[in-house]
């Protein structure tokens, strides 16, 4: 085996970089402290969910020029609590045709799986807790980000089984629809994250955050960020992609037959999944718990360590939450076939191409594809510059060809209309097309001179 490996020096070079394993150091973390951290993450998520439901209703209310919930507690903050109590006390209804065991199992799967992914999110860097120095994240593995995707894959079972076990048609169709949607968008999501793995050289969240200390990955992997933001909305079944519960077509989708606490579990799962995908976006693209560039420089990085990380992480998380609410407040629902076509025929192939491109850039950075050249005081690999040049030229030529084709098509669709028409030419008054002038009937008035014509124009 060693003979083959030495024949591939690049692989060995990659391996000796040693960024595979997590950077977070859990050696000073006893088991009871892990349990405390698990409880803290759990409470953090529950409180966030209570707040985000209120936040969503208030912000959408403001966008629609109405107050939103404002009766229970200050600013209506306790509204969600009241709703939760109500759903706990409601009668637990199960349809006669439902499969009793699976009908109860499905919401349990959704409500438990959504919490699991948060165990690998770094909420803050090293903090001191009860006399121990420990990273504020429950655990980290070399495959942490894959774990999030795997747990999301298991979480889909909740949706599918809920649809099936209800024993009626609309929930079944809604369940199939939303699981098809989640699976297809998970592919594009996983592909978009590959570029980040290539840049960070690791799939462990602590390594990825650490790799962003110079530059957040949202800049070099901008296209991945773009794809990820779209897929995270598709993955969580949120507007404009909430096709599973298109009221006009499928009533409530997979949870049509659910009520009381069982429904509340689905509701909880949906919101915590939003937090999970937003936290992943924060960690992968926006530097995780690191302070924003300007603030990070103050006083030698005073605000960039310890418990401050929790503040930056939460701020970035809630920025994504606001985007979710903003989208819901402003966009209509898309059509299902268009949505699936967009996912399979644009997002997945485009992201595949992007990943190949990023792989070439990374190879250039490692110096495997030729020498560097110094441009304006910074050194760049020649290969990368050439690649950028080729892509720019190809984009220009492609855009020009595309534009001329569209123009030709437009011209063939709309034959040129004469600039001036006689409205009575066919014996029947015809209004002018847009951009056309009416020719004045010659018998009504003497021909206009050019002087009076311009006068008319300036007056108008």
């Amino acid at each position: 085996m060693s003979g083959t490996v030495t024949a591939l020096p690049d692989l060995v070079a990659l391996a000796t970089a040693g960024t595979d394993n997590p950077r977070a150091d859990f050696s000073d973390t006893p088991v009871w402290l892990s349990l405390v951290k698990a409880a803290l993450v759990f409470v953090y998520l529950l409180v966030s969910t209570l707040l985000v439901i209120w936040f969503e209703r208030r912000v959408i209310g403001r966008m629609q020029q109405r107050p939103g919930p404002n009766r229970n507690g200050p600013f209506g903050l306790l509204q969600t609590l009241a709703d939760g109590m109500k759903s706990m006390l409601k009668e637990d209804v199960r349809p006669k045709a439902a499969d009793a065991f699976v009908f109860t199992l499905a919401p349990l799967i959704t409500a438990t799986m959504c919490f699991v992914s948060f165990s690998i999110m770094p909420l803050a860097g090293e903090v001191s807790m009860f006399g121990h120095t420990t990273p504020f994240q429950l655990t980290d593995t070399p495959v942490a980000v894959l774990l999030v995707l795997a747990v999301a894959g298991v979480g889909i079972y909740g949706v599918v089984l809920a649809g099936w076990s209800s024993g009626s048609t609309y929930p079944l169709m809604g369940g199939l629809r939303s699981s098809a949607q989640m699976i297809s968008y998970e592919i594009a999501m996983g592909l978009s994250l590959v570029a980040v793995f290539l840049y960070a050289g690791s799939m462990s969240t602590s390594q990825i955050v650490n790799a962003q200390s110079d530059l957040w990955f949202v800049v070099p992997a901008f296209f991945s960020f773009f794809v990820y933001v779209i897929t995270m909305v598709g993955e969580t079944n949120r507007l404009p992609f909430d096709l599973a519960e298109g009221e006009g077509e499928l009533t409530g989708g997979f949870h049509t037959e659910y009520g009381s606490m069982r429904f509340a579990m689905f509701f909880l799962g949906e919101y915590i999944n939003m937090f999970t995908v937003a936290a992943l976006a924060t960690t992968m693209f926006l530097g995780g718990y690191q302070a924003p560039p300007g603030i990070a420089a103050i006083n030698g990085g005073m605000f960039d360590q310890g418990w401050w990380g929790l503040l930056w992480f939460t701020a970035k998380l809630w920025a994504f939450m606001f985007v979710f609410v903003w989208l819901r407040g402003s966009l209509p629902r898309v059509r299902y076939d268009q949505f699936m076509r967009f996912g399979w025929k644009f997002l997945i192939p485009a992201t595949l191409g992007w990943v190949v491109l990023v792989a070439f850039f990374r190879a250039g950075q490692q110096g495997w594809l030729g020498d560097d050249v110094v441009v304006a005081g910074r050194s760049f690999p020649v290969f990368s510059l050439a690649l950028v040049g080729i892509i720019a030229v190809a984009a220009l030529v492609g855009g020009w060809l595309w534009d001329s084709r569209v123009e030709r098509k437009e011209a063939s669709l709309h034959p040129r209309v004469p600039e001036e028409i006689d409205p009575y030419a066919g014996g029947h008054p015809v209004p002018p097309m847009p951009g056309q002038r009416l020719r004045e009937p010659s018998l009504a008035a003497p021909a206009l001179t050019s002087a009076s014509d311009t006068k008319e124009a300036t007056r108008g």
Binding site: N21, T141, L146
Partner: protein
């Protein structure tokens, strides 16, 4: 070598995995069987992770439970639980041939695996520390076994393409749209306003109940042909009698 935590986990999850596997064989409903299998797969993934093979465990859950088993579940739900396969053998003697081939394969595998010799095991802890868990797997896949890996992927892609070619049907011409249907209707001169709607009665309306023609006979055209073929239509008499009852009640009320 096995820690206490690992042992406790094994004795809890091991029996559960067996229960899931038995459920796959003995469950009456196909979906329950699929669920048992999914549970066994997840528990296997957890075992891999417990034995320091993080990448393998997560991929096991991600690919097998999240994708493959989900597709199975999809098919089960779409096909329906009560559908059954025909048990008539189309290829004569295939069972015997299968048994012989399976025995042969088992013999070959047992022979070659039994002959393998192992050197000193490096130990997962050491490998996980130096090249790393993912890099270690990557070095093997893209280094030593690159040709096996690429050949397998080519085989899988060929299989996927073949399935698509066999299952996908291209439409030769353009199907008639709503406009063409309406033109065709007028050309034929029948049912110009479309087919009659199914029955709407004072206390009932449903697609399986035919409408009544002016002379009081039920209209065959107003119900789906499929329901008629399956003999699942209801007689409208029940509801017309109900209507008579209502009329009688109204009559009585007005006379009172």
């Amino acid at each position: 070598m096995t820690g206490t935590g690992e042992e406790v986990m094994f004795w809890i999850l091991g029996p559960l995995a067996v229960v899931g596997a038995l459920g796959l064989v003995f469950a009456r409903k196909a979906v329950h069987a699929a669920l048992g299998m999914a549970m066994t797969m997840i528990i296997l993934g957890v075992f891999y992770i417990a034995q320091d093979a993080d990448f393998l465990g997560v991929i096991q859950i991600f690919v097998y439970t999240g994708a493959v088993m989900m597709l199975f579940l999809f098919v089960l739900m779409l096909v329906g639980v009560d559908s059954s396969d025909s048990l008539v053998e189309t290829l004569t003697g295939q069972r015997w041939a299968t048994a012989v081939l399976a025995l042969g394969l088992g013999g070959l595998l047992g022979f070659s695996v039994g002959h393998a010799t192992w050197g000193r095991a490096a130990g997962l802890a050491e490998v996980n520390a130096d090249p790393g868990n993912v890099s270690g797997v990557a070095q093997l896949i893209f280094g030593r076994y690159v040709w096996v890996f690429e050949t397998t992927s080519a085989l899988l892609i060929t299989a996927a393409l073949g399935a698509m070619v066999l299952a996908h049907r291209e439409r030769l011409g353009k199907g008639p749209d709503q406009k063409e249907w309406s033109k065709r209707r007028f050309k034929e001169g029948r049912h110009l306003a479309g087919l009659p709607a199914p029955g709407v009665y004072a206390r009932h309306n449903a697609v399986d109940t035919p409408a009544l023609l002016p002379d009081g006979t039920p209209s065959e055209l107003s119900v789906s042909r499929v329901l008629t073929a399956r003999d699942q239509n209801r007689s409208p008499e029940l509801y017309t009698e109900g209507e008579l009852q209502i009329e009688r009640d109204v009559q009585e009320g007005s006379e009172r």
